[in-house]
Amino acid sequence: MSERTKPLFLARQSYRRRRLIDACRLVPLFGALVMLIPLLWTEPGSGSLAVRGLFLFAAWGLLVVLSAGLARLLAITPEGSGRGAEAADRQVTPGGGDVL
């Protein structure tokens, strides 16, 4: 099938938006890493439960702040010409459409 001609480089705005989306995708990975830290706490009574609880909630809060900030930025960054977000998505799954 015909490959639609995609620009190789993007305008500044679309570029910015795509990097924001990249950041959006990275947040849960970062979150997963942090939330797996308790796997190290398997020794009974080896540390303060209260501090550990606070740590988890602090990480939780950080995720919320990051996520909120990115959502806000995404909302105010215009999609650029045409199908910015969709184009970004298409780029991540190259050729995902036409075969099969």
Binding site: P28, G45, L49, A50, W60, V64, A68, A85, G96
Partner: protein, 895 residues
Amino acid sequence: MSFDIVVGISLAYVLVLFVVAFAAERRARRGRLGWLRSPLVYTLSLSIYCTAWTFYGAVGYAVRSGLEFLTIYLGPTLLMVGWWWLLRKLVRIGRNQRITSIADLISSRYGKSASLGGLVTGIAVLGTTPYIALQLQSVTLSFGVFADTPVGWDTPDQWLVTAWVAIGLTVFTVLFGTRNLDANERHHGVVTAIAVEAVVKLVALLAVGVFVVWGIAGGIGETMARIDASPISQVPVDGSRWFTLIFLSGAAFLCLPRMFQVMVVENDDERHLSTASWAFPLYLAAINIFVLPIAVIGLDLLPAGSNPDLFVLTVPLAMNQDWLAMLVFLGGFSAATSMVIVAAIALSTMVSNHVVIPIWMWVRRGLGGAPGDVRGLVLMSRRLSIAAVLALGYFYHQVSGGGAALAAMGLISFCGVVQVLPALVGGLFWRGATRIGALAGTICGFAVWVYCLLLPSIGADVVMSAEMLANGPGGIGWLTPQALFGVPGLDPVVHCILWSMLINTLVFCVGSLASFPGPLERLQGAQFVNVFEDGANPRGWNEGAVESEDLLVMAQRILGAREAQNLFLEEARAQGKGGYLPDNTPDFLERLERELSGSVGAAAAHAMVEQIMTGSSVSVRDLMALADETAQIMEYSSQLEAKSRELERTARQLRLANEKLTALSVQKDAFLSQISHELRTPMTSIRAFSEILMSGEALSPDEQAHYSGVIHDEALRLTRLLDALLDLSVLEDGRAQLAEQDAVLRDLIDRAILSTTSLSSNTVFEIRRDEPSEKIVLRTDVDRLSQVFINLVANARKYCDAEKPRLDIRVSRAQGELTIDFVDNGSGIPAASQQLIFEKFARLSTASAVDGAGLGLAICREIMVRLGGSVAYLPGQGGAAFRVSLPVAEAVRAA
């Protein structure tokens, strides 16, 4: 606080909820949606994830397992902050395809498969029923706390309360959940009520938390000290459970029917998801932040043996904070009821669309005709399903008897529901996922769940014997339900998730790879996976001569008369037509199907439109038949192609043969003129000289002798010519007798050279030969072979045009064959003539000066064929070269 006041306040609260729902519904119907559609309401509606299990159970969970209770909320948190990965796509697909439930999503993805829809519905009902029972129990228990004797509550009273709660919930859900038939339309009343309840439960938990931290413990520092001093701090984190539960809760967040309902079906605007991506994790964090302090203080404050699941309620009561306790009670009530309401709506939609309608359609099929009044049927089946789901929960509660067994069901239901995950996620991201794979994977995962977790959890000797639980069925160790494949020592939940997910995913992948999807399945798969690619909807209907009226009749039955008429009117107007009947453009049919699928599910809607369209549309079956035909035509045309290629080959051969024949004919003509010339020349001289002799003139004896000599010579020449022709004709007819005898090859060549010496006496003709190699005894017809040799040598002598003519005679033996090459150094024979020289009468024009009838090589060839060998022209030797081959069996003995 007296029990009556509690009941009164609860009833008042329920009334408020009814009013809120009713007001929201009215507002929505007037089109003034406003804040009803705000992302805040959407986020709050997601909070039905936090059921009574969270509200009361989280504290109990914390008392038993420390920080582990957080995992249940960390999974959804990670999923929400990672909305760009998965949820965004899910919501977009849900909106594009007018999905009504998770069963509908999976059924639609895999070619609107009724079997998958039914399977997912079954799993959902099985996984949700204990959960509904759990909610009913929590309400009953919390009522019991306010009753005089919390523990020794009369069982009949308890049952009565539970029954009344169940009935009340049924009424509310039926009233606000089945108001409109279109399950895909938002239930603004329900969602608003749920949002209010979400606020109530959050406020209640925060209030208790603040009271505990600042009212009882005396500040953050003190609270932290008490946490560290409590027995909870000695509970270690179980690594495998921590990891598994985060995964499990995240997966359940996706797969739970009620979560799908609020997140995808009730979603008004995709942008709400981006707000919820941070607001919902914030809500979860807020609702959990005081769980640990409440657990610790509860342990300190209340007598040993108190139910930690009720600490949220019993701690304020113990401190005589009745109104706080009342707020907590309402919070717990909210948590329980909101979950039950949404779960009942989701399940009833699924049961109605994927069990009742397909069965009804199947029954109707025998009767034929267009679908009858579906509207009433769907509404009724949905209402009955709601009642049935709640009744099921109620009876489950009564049968299981409540208690700890029920509390453990929370995680067990999660494990069952997430068996849908591979089919769901695979369907969203992998176009190769097929119905067979999804069915097989889900069934296998489900079976593992039943075998490894559900049945053992009921207890030993109920379904499975203790012996079987310990040693496997019939002593087969690796089939032990809680230690499959000889991996013992795992936590049951971790064990079940590990094996069920592994087997489920594996079977799903293998099944998908090995099977071939149907056309509709492939179209749907492409639409789901590439939902962000814009482009025309490819599954469209063909424009045809369908009666719009039929469609309108059907749509009225399903959507309701006014809605259907509005839809048709709107479409007609958009097409620039008056009246109620738009043209049946593919776009319109597709839109209609989507609208219908909002009411009865994609599979049923497709089937219904198909039923009406059968006369005129191209159905999938037609398409497949068409494809078959096309394949046949292609095969036929490829056969034709092959045949035409064969014909071409034959034609080419014929053309070649024809060319050869033409050339031969030309040769024959040439020969005839040659032979007549050859015959006439001697005849002319004979006649002339015999006339002289006959004239009786005085001739000298010398003259007489000369003339009669000439006549004699010419007669001899004629005889030779006639002999040659006769010879050839004899050879060709196969009448020639071979007289085999032994001879030495060298002698034969000697004889050939000797008998041709006279031909070129005027020039020096050099003959080079290797005599030792010629010492070979042959058993053959010596005279015939000599004739060939003589002919070849004579040809060389006659036609070699080199200044110093030379002939090489080379003898060699290889591969069972004796070859004798005669190679001269002349200009050879042009390639064009090489094909012809062995034909009869062939004479190269350049050599016409030399006498001979052009029969020599033809005779040679015939002789060699008779002798079992061959003679051929050998190109590329620098001159004319002929190769005589004889089978070596004829030349065994060396001399």
